[in-house]
Symmetry: C2
Subunit: 338 residues, 2 copies
Amino acid sequence: MNDLFLRACRRERVARPPIWLMRQAGRSLPEYREVRSRVDFSTLYRTPDLAAQVTLQPVDRLGVDAAILFSDILVPAEALGLKVAFKPGPILENPVRTASDIEQLRVTEPEESVPFVFEALEILRRELADRVPLIGFAGAPCTLAAYLVEGSGSRNFEQFKRLLIGEPAVAHRLLEKITAITEKYLAAQIRAGAQAVQLFDTWAGLLDRTCFREFALRYANRVLEFLRPHGVPLIYFALNATHLLEDIASCTADVIGVDWRLSLVEASERLDHKFVLQGNLDPCVLLAPADEIERRVAAIVDLGRRLPGHVFNLGHGVLPQTSVEHLELLVGAVKRLG
Amino acid sequence: MNDLFLRACRRERVARPPIWLMRQAGRSLPEYREVRSRVDFSTLYRTPDLAAQVTLQPVDRLGVDAAILFSDILVPAEALGLKVAFKPGPILENPVRTASDIEQLRVTEPEESVPFVFEALEILRRELADRVPLIGFAGAPCTLAAYLVEGSGSRNFEQFKRLLIGEPAVAHRLLEKITAITEKYLAAQIRAGAQAVQLFDTWAGLLDRTCFREFALRYANRVLEFLRPHGVPLIYFALNATHLLEDIASCTADVIGVDWRLSLVEASERLDHKFVLQGNLDPCVLLAPADEIERRVAAIVDLGRRLPGHVFNLGHGVLPQTSVEHLELLVGAVKRLG
């Protein structure tokens, strides 16, 4: 069994850093595009066999050291009774903006409301047969709340921020419900076979430090503390969060994902050298020529040796236009240089 | 004459912080929407009388302490011979991506290629009659380059970053030409009456520190040094740049604009307390109730007293959905509390 990833998360000595890639299952892979030519995105993540199939593709093709469930960040919104459409980005039919909207959200049992997620994980554990570990994930509460209030992706998430600033008590009631469903959702993923869990706080970087501590970190930590007794490594990734690292230092995760904006060593300093770090190649580097990719991978692997632990990853998801050849080259370089 | 703004920029003692707002002329004002109902955006900024008219609107309506020329960040692209359309965001008919694309850019004399900008400034100085100072502006070279290479606004500016990472020599040739046109463009604005100048580095925050120093700060500093002998205050504003503040500390501007992500005092510490700061109310705060706006304005005014100097502004542009009542309240609060 290749357990490099789990060992690195646990700060055990490893011969080289493990590598996996955010959005490693996706449009860069021809075999993914082939599946998507037959089914839409929503059908894909709701059909356990298909979700499992595309989750395995990068393991087979690229040789990454972990699989991460192919799913959508808004699945827990469905478990709260909301309807999500894709046009092509996610759109909520009814954004959640008032106390009465929040009252109507029901914290269901995810195994009943979104069973397809757990069926996919069970299939994956069987099919992986311990080749590599399987990672489960969810949006962090603040990021899920941002989508729920705004109703879609957004550059500034004005409606969401208006709620945090203007109606903090209402925002906290929403975050309480989201935290409750996220705890259940991730605990169920672990029961179904997830061997590590990542919380994605994609929009936390839009907040100032005070707002981040009150509305984002506090609830992310609640989820992480709830999951702690399950004994699997817990990863927290906030995008564009360089101004928040001194606050994230109080996070209860084992591993902190960091984007490309600061070097791994600078990020580790701001995090008080308390965490294994995951990152942090700029996804745009994979659009550059091969020798430049090699050079930058080598630099990151070198810096990674100065951390409490290092899981190689990108600083954000694989860009859809990335060539599969460059993804192969990246994984090969980490395995060779690490 | 109300010269509070110029005096604050020059670190002179002022009774209260001056206030102006990025995008203070715009859709929040009914009188702006009235003008736009008759002409499209491109006609508006290309017609000196109209550009001057909307520039004056927030001075009259809100009582801000400075006027800033109403124009578009891509005007210097036109001065390089490129065609820009608006659908509704700016689109370049032919993005600039190769050495031969760059060869074809001509560094013209802005007074000849984009005369409408300087005519508007002359009208404005006459009509303002020293009521408040007049600010000119341009995109910083790196941000203009980002638009030219990408061809439009973008979430990640992948094409631009691919060029910086994969073909740095080509990127530098582009930045040389853009720096040359920006120097001429801003010097001409000062000759036409601009009494201060702001460089907007809207996309610098997408870069890591190394990339920022090599491709952004270096060229912004070249422009600022070129303008220095003109004797007007120089403002540098990079959005989402908290990870870059230690580098921006070597900037040759008089005033650094900062967004809302860090408090004014934290930002000033990272900038080694070397600058007058401009900022930094989150524009989303203006969507919240009046008492919350007052509370946050008071907090920023208080922190501003601990800086080498403070110009009150938002952390980014006025959001179009902001009510004019809340803009009036904001300006009134700064004048009362400052």
